[in-house]
């Protein structure tokens, strides 16, 4: 899994040792990355976002999908959800 190789700092700095590319993620992006690495499903992450921020599960899921879409464009995510 591509996420495993990433070096992720608490400040949201992400380094990919394989490609040499760097990225920044914001607080929510960081949360999603961490939970994905822990192996949580998108629904479970949406649930956490709902608890943490009080947004609806639907909005959370829509935003996670959009985030993963961006990750996929950068080659950091493959379209195998769940």
């Amino acid at each position: 899994m591509k996420l495993k190789r990433l070096a992720i700092s608490e400040e949201g700095f992400v380094f990919d040792p394989e490609t040499g590319n760097s990225y920044t993620v914001n607080e929510t992006g960081l949360l999603i990355l961490k939970k994905l690495r822990e192996g949580l499903s998108l629904e479970e992450i949406a649930e956490i976002m709902n608890e943490e921020y009080g947004i609806s599960r639907e909005e959370a899921l829509r935003d996670i999908q959009d985030f993963l879409e961006a990750m996929a464009r950068f080659g950091l995510w493959e379209e195998k959800y769940g």
Partner: protein, 446 residues
Amino acid sequence: MKRPYQKPTILKLQVGFLREKKSSLSRMVRQEIDGVPVAELAEKFGSPLFVFSEKRLREQFRYLKRLFEGHYPRVEFSWSYKTNYLDAICRIFHQEGATAEVVSNFEYEKARRLGVPGDQIVFNGPYKPKEILRQAVLEGARINVDSLDEILDLEEIARETGEKLRIGLRVNMDTGIYPRWDRFGFNLESGEVLNVARRIAAGGRLEVVGLHCHQGTFILEPEAYGRAAEKLVDLSQKLENDFGWTIEYLDLGGGFPSRNRLKGLYLPPEVAVPPLSEYAEKIARALLTRLPAGDYPLLILETGRALVDEAGFLITTVRALKRLPDGRRAYILDAGVNLLFTAFWYHFRVEVEREIPGPPEPCVLYGPLCMNIDVVEESALLPPLARGTRLVLSPVGAYNVTQWMQFITYRPRVVLVTENGNAEVIREAETLEDIVRREKIPEHLK
């Protein structure tokens, strides 16, 4: 208390794009226009919505008037109709004492309909249909002639009326700016103006009483106006000496900039656009040093953009979110270049109706048209926006509500926030009926 939510973002770091991002956040929020909340305006009148501020219109007019009158004794502001000819907007400027500057039959008729007397109208433009020209002559409008053919038309009208007609000449010249607008009026440096003057004098039916020069648009060089004023004074003295005419007015046209961000200009408008006081100083200095004391012709200014642009806002709503192949976000707005003709030349200020948490990231703002050119802003820097977020674009007061087009959808309402803080509709949204009313179906297609 839950923590404020930011949409998740990931940005790839690329050399050349590793810029500072925090300082620009605070300026991107606009919650109200002259005290009326943006949300209230949009909910009551719909989105998209043009909003004009009466307070700003009047204040800017009074500011400019004071400014120029402080430098030169005789100044007339002639409201440039083409910039924004909504009745309510024109009324405000006429109330403040502006005459009307029109460039077509439609604009002439609109000014007359608003109750502006003919002698309070400056009539410019390269094509003045004969009928309207005749009416303007009879009603005593100031007519600035653009071509020799127009002189022929006026001589013919003069024959009909049996009176000598008083006209102005439109002159184009080198004032050191680019591009040079040399297709309007008669060229100074080539001697064309003097040839035309001789022709007019020989005809005996016309008399030149004014000179007009409109150098261009969004002119960022105050000195150019100084040079134009100098050249017009020199020309007027030559015409007075050679032909015995009395030049009663010098019209320096418009072209004064607003604090809008012209595309291709790197510096922000606060720095790139000189203060209007510099224009007033240059013009007045050129006039006062060349004119004999006490003999001051009327100075006419046709300021449009500088008066109205910054009083106009457009409220628009994010209707859809997209992710482009290069990873950038894109937003589909309910207003595009159909309403914002000036988006082709200017980068508007983009403000969000409320503080949105999250890092600003490069994004594209698209309009609702099914055309590739419908781009409101090709590179905005905005925090991630949710569907339904309202944006406020400004300044959009100049040229948009005259050059907007009715293409695939209706044109929205225009409201005026009055000086008392009420929002009043000054143009209703179009309906299907408005658009089809003038259509006819031939019998065989019914």
